[in-house]
Amino acid sequence: MSQIITVHSYRGGTGKSSTAANLAVLLASSGHRVALVDTDIQTPALDVMFGDALGTVRRSLSDYLIGRCEIEEAAYPAEADAGHDGFFVVPARSRAGVINEIMGRGYDVGLLREGFDRLIDSLALDVLLLDTHAGFNNETVTSMASSDALVVVTRADRLDMAGAAETMSLADRLGCGRLSVAVNLVPSGTPHEPLRAKVENAFGAPVTVALPYAPEMAALAGERLFSTAYPHHPLVAGYRRIIADVSNGTTALRRPAPHPPSLP
């Protein structure tokens, strides 16, 4: 069974995209066939994080949505990050002009779900990981509604948790399946239990993990992925906890289709 996992946060700056990227790489490194899709058309991040693998982006999710290419053409192999040929990144957009077109004309929302399904089929994926724009826009809501599991990334501050009730209510209505609440950027020395109680009270759901603030992450300045640079850091252990929590138990490497589609 393939699985769609969405990583979401109510506000920006919570470390959502970093979390999504690291979860994807960890899943891929453990042998799964994974594609990571940047659905954040307004403020994309993955094209920078995976810049080495992507090179000059010519096809993207946005190009697919406005009819310039097929979704499979926008999936870039990122073998170096996974150690095998079953890891792909779909960037949000190819160039600045696309955003004008997509914001001005709009697109058929059904294309998102159809694109996700086609990626799973044609790339023979075990996991499709969706990074989202903060808050609730069409891409985010559609991603959440398409998911089998939702990872909510939040900081333990009042601003982030103000959206907890709304997020949970929407997730409930959309039927997002497994849910994992990850408290991110927790300063060292924060007492664990009061933090947990506060967040669980706001979300009405158990906290999966409290991810420590890692100065090393800031030091990397986005040049490398954290889990690659510091595979034994407690933060990476925290990512693994999330994976264990939302995973549907897929452990075997899924065989690619006998005749995999040709990719750009």
């Binding site: 929302v109 059904g110 998102l112 779900r113 209505r173």
Partner: protein
């Protein structure tokens, strides 16, 4: 004018002897009547006068009554008023449109005068006829122009995606029609819109609304983007998508709903008093998978004829006719056209076609013909056309007939 028939209208038999003698000399057939006698006479007993000769002493209104009476019998004689002494009495008659005759009543002068009057009347009558005929011609020309313009509201050619055959038969009952069909690409050419609709009523009124409804549907569908429909509805806990377990519309559902709901709202807001509405079937087809999402707005259920001989599936209405109920909800229907299947979309001109004896073609016969026909696509339409022609016989086609066959070739 040797056998000219004259009806001489006079109240007290006071017509001048000189005039009577002249009429006799000219061998005119003369009947003398009072207005009272004329009006009291049974139809057909007034003869067929060429000239109505009236005494100027009669009131013009009385003459008018007699003229009307004659007109009822299909006679329009030349009306000529005569006077002997009281020439001033002629004024009122001339004003009322009559000609006049004054002494001396010499035969040659009277003959010439009456001939002039007659010719003048004939001339003006011919002129009226020509004007009326010209009006009719211009009306027919306008209608012909209307027909040509209406054809421009139908697609020139039908798209033919790989593995699909889409064919149409369109037969208006009159010069202009209320039926229409449309096939066009949607969602960056990833989908095909299929529309068959029937505007209530026939003729020019229906044709005008056909042009409006077709344009609203197509324009809205083609221009329909994201419009935050999904996000707004989901966040507001709206009920639009609640029928689906997942809250995401399939591709094509957004333009489809926007087009039908938007057209319904436009018609009910702006045209509800005119009483025009349309039943329609609007489907959005994915040519790659055969998946079809549709709205059936009070339309005859299209028939999905299966390749494997299974019972045909009817795509029943998912909402009312468009343009009747303000703010009504339309649901989406879903089906799949498998290889070898044919979707037959039609208007009620098919099922309500009448034979010479007044029998309807009907659903059962249509389904039987569709399932038993061994042909598909264009040939199926030829077959249905032939069956309908045979059924109707020489009787006049009473309603517009539209048939669309959407056939997926067997792989």
């Amino acid at each position: 004018m040797s056998h000219t028939k004259v009806l001489l209208l006079d109240e007290h038999r006071r017509a001048p002897d000189e005039l009577l003698a002249t009429l006799r000399e000219l061998r005119f057939e003369v009947r003398r009547r009072t207005p009272g006698e004329t009006l009291a006479q049974a139809p057909g007993e007034l003869g067929e006068p060429d000239v109505l000769l009236v005494s100027a002493r009669l009131a013009p209104a009385t003459v008018k009554a007699v003229v009307r009476r004659l007109d009822d019998e299909g006679r329009q004689p030349t009306v000529v008023a005569f006077a002997d002494h009281d020439l001033h009495l002629l004024g009122g008659h001339v004003q009322a449109g009559a000609d006049y005759l004054v002494p001396p009543f010499h035969p040659e002068l009277v003959r010439a005068r009456l001939r002039d009057c007659h010719e003048r009347t004939e001339f003006s009558r011919t002129l009226q006829d020509v004007a009326a005929h010209a009006e009719l011609l211009s009306y027919e020309r306008e209608l012909e122009i209307g027909r040509e313009i209406q054809l421009g509201f139908l697609p020139d050619t039908l798209p033919s995606p790989d593995d699909w055959e889409i064919d149409v038969r369109f037969r208006p009952a009159r010069t202009v029609a209320g039926d229409f069909y449309d096939v066009f690409e949607l969602v960056n050419r990833r989908r095909l819109a299929l529309v068959v609709a029937d505007v209530c009523d026939k003729g020019v009124g229906a044709a005008l609304f056909m042009a409006l409804i077709r344009s609203l549907l197509r324009h809205t569908a083609e221009q329909s983007g994201l419009q935050n429909l999904i996000a707004a509805d989901v966040l507001n806990e709206s009920t639009v998508w609640e029928e689906q377990t997942r809250a995401i519309p399939v591709v094509g559902a957004t333009p489809l709903l926007n087009a039908v709901v938007g057209t319904n709202n436009y018609l009910t807001r702006n045209h509800i008093r005119q009483g025009y509405f349309a039943t329609l079937f609007f489907g959005v087809l994915d040519p790659l998978t055969g998946n079809l999402v549709y709205i059936n707005g009070g339309h005859n259920p299209p028939v999905l004829v299966s390749a494997d001989g299974a019972e045909p599936v009817l795509l029943e209405p998912t909402g009312p006719a468009v343009g009747v109920i303000p703010d009504v909800t339309f649901s989406l229907g879903y089906t799949q056209i498998s290889p070898g299947d044919t979707l037959f979309i039609y208007t009620d001109g098919v099922t309500e076609a009448r034979s010479g004896s007044g029998r309807f073609f009907g659903n059962e016969l249509m389904l039987k013909q569709l399932t038993e026909a061994a042909v598909r696509g264009e040939e199926l339409l030829d077959h249905m056309d032939g069956v309908l022609n045979e059924f109707v016989g020489p009787a006049e086609q009473s309603d517009d007939i539209t048939m669309m066959a959407v056939h997926r070739r067997a792989s």
